[in-house]
Structure formats: structure tokens, C-alpha cells
């Protein structure tokens, strides 16, 4: 269980690193081109992982048929997300970007958990609010720091 917790924290790290590096790339070679390279490099590495893991031995058309069609749309959504991220990351302050991304994600997450598991967890809403406040607080410190810098 601890491993899972560490895994999702680490996922956050990879998100920030990936986002920044990719928008730097996109700055140089273009939005869509940046997305393209993101996916091609990603495909290459994921193929390597797949080969190492031997999971590909389990792949079959029966398996693929058991998956609901909408589950295949993740890649398509990812293209939209990556492209828009490349666009937006340099254009608005990290302050608003992180905050807005979190609010959007958490709000949607709570709704989805409700529809998939049938519960509105008050704890999640209150906890989510706290996470939001903590984030807001830290980001306000950053803003003050950058204002101090200009003097």
C-alpha cells in the first residue's frame, strides 16, 4: 500500500518534469511537432517495457474485444492534453496553471468516483478543499517572492 502511495507521488514528479521539458521542446519546434515527438519517444520506450515484461504474450483479439470501446480513447485525449499543455504552460503563470489544473482534476475525479462507485465522499470534498488551500498558500508565497524580486 505504501508502495502505491509512493507511486502516485512519483507520478506527480514525472508530470511536472515531463510538462516542463516538453513545452521547452515545443517552444523550439512547434506545438504539434512537440506532441508528435512526445508520442514517438513514448511509444519506443513503452515497447521496450512491454518486451521486457512479456505481457505481450497475453495479448489476443479476445482480450481486446473485452475492453469497452471508450477505453481506447485515452491516447486521443492525451494528444489533446499534451498539445494544449504545450500551448498554455508558458502563457500563464505557474500559480494559476497548477491551481486550475488541480481544481479541474479533483472536481472531475469526485464526480467520476460518484458515478463509478456511487458515493459522494464528504471526506474527499473536505480533504480536496484542504489540498487546494495548502496549494494556494504555497503558491501565494511564490507570488510574494517574485514581487519582491522586482524591487
Amino acid at each position: 500500500m505504501l508502495l502505491i502511495i509512493l507511486a502516485s507521488i512519483a507520478a506527480g514528479t514525472t508530470i511536472v518534469l515531463g510538462r516542463n521539458i516538453n513545452s521547452s521542446l515545443a517552444n523550439r519546434i512547434g506545438l504539434l511537432e512537440g506532441t508528435f515527438f512526445n508520442y514517438i519517444v513514448g511509444l519506443f520506450f513503452s515497447l521496450i517495457f512491454l518486451l521486457i515484461s512479456n505481457d505481450y504474450l497475453k495479448l489476443s483479439t479476445n482480450l481486446l474485444k473485452s475492453v469497452p470501446i471508450w477505453a481506447f480513447l485515452g491516447g486521443f485525449l492525451g494528444v489533446i492534453v499534451v498539445s494544449i499543455s504545450n500551448l498554455v504552460t508558458p502563457k500563464i503563470s505557474a500559480f494559476y496553471l497548477t491551481l486550475i489544473l488541480f481544481v479541474g482534476q479533483l472536481f472531475t475525479g469526485i464526480i467520476i468516483d460518484y458515478f463509478s462507485q456511487g458515493l459522494i465522499s464528504v471526506g474527499k470534498i473536505i480533504g480536496g478543499l484542504l489540498v487546494f488551500l495548502g496549494l494556494y498558500y504555497n503558491l501565494t508565497i511564490d507570488k510574494k517572492l517574485s514581487i519582491e524580486k522586482t524591487y
Partner: protein, 140 residues
């Protein structure tokens, strides 16, 4: 306008997490990532073709800039794993903790071309509040 777009990606990210997580539950973590990248690659290739954009081999770009794709694979792997055990909102909240910590480190050292924002102990307060929020989300 950009703020609205950010809100949109926030929503899309969560939906994407659910789609990818479901795919990986059915076809295995590693297979699903290949499928995800394959479908995404086909998608962006079509867009590039439609827009008639050319890809060149760029020779004055440091190699590390291309690594975002590899990093992305880890993101999807880790997120899929977590989603199937602890659900969407918890995965996201913990991911946010990771993002906050990483951002603080990046800001402090000015890594990846970001401006330097030195670490202030006050930030520990924010991190503590975030962690508290996550604990509440876990147990209630």
C-alpha cells in the same frame, strides 16, 4: 482564455486517467501503454498530415529535450497502477503532492530554465496542509 483551457485540460486529464486505467485493468499495464501511445501517435500523425506540417530533423536541440516522451511513459504506468488500487481522486491528490514537492525543488534550484524561487520554511506549512487534506481524503 488560457485559464479556461487549463480548466479544460484538468477535466480531460481525469477522464483520460479513467480511460487509461480501465484499459490497463483489462489488457495489462505494459500492453495498455503501448496501445495508448500507438493510438495517440496515429492521432497526432493524422493531424500533422491534415495540416501539412513538415517534420525536420533538428540538429541544434539538446537531446534531453526529447526525453519528455520517456518520462510520460512512467507517468502513465504509475498513474494506472495507482488508479486501480485507490481510485481517481486519491491518485490525483497524491500526484499533486508529488507535483508540489517537485516544483519546490525545481524552483529552488532554478532547474529546467525556471526562475529561482528559494525554498522558504513557510512552504512546509502549505505542504503539511496538503498532506493533511490527503489523509482526510483517505480515511473519510
Amino acid at each position: 482564455m488560457y485559464k479556461l483551457l487549463s480548466g479544460l485540460i484538468g477535466i480531460l486529464i481525469t477522464v483520460m486517467l479513467v480511460f487509461n486505467g480501465t484499459l490497463s485493468k483489462n489488457t495489462g499495464n505494459y500492453s495498455s501503454i503501448v496501445i495508448i501511445h500507438l493510438t495517440g501517435l496515429i492521432c497526432i500523425s493524422c493531424i500533422l498530415l491534415i495540416k501539412k506540417r513538415k517534420l525536420k530533423l533538428y540538429n541544434n536541440i539538446p537531446i534531453y529535450l526529447y526525453s519528455a516522451g520517456a518520462i510520460g511513459v512512467f507517468t502513465v504506468l504509475l498513474n494506472n497502477l495507482s488508479f486501480n488500487y485507490i481510485g481517481a481522486s486519491l491518485t490525483l491528490a497524491l500526484g499533486l503532492l508529488g507535483q508540489s514537492i517537485t516544483s519546490i525543488v525545481i524552483d529552488h534550484y532554478g532547474l529546467l530554465g525556471a526562475e529561482v524561487y528559494k525554498f522558504k520554511k513557510q512552504k512546509l506549512i502549505g505542504l503539511t496542509i496538503i498532506t493533511l487534506g490527503i489523509i482526510i481524503m483517505t480515511f473519510y
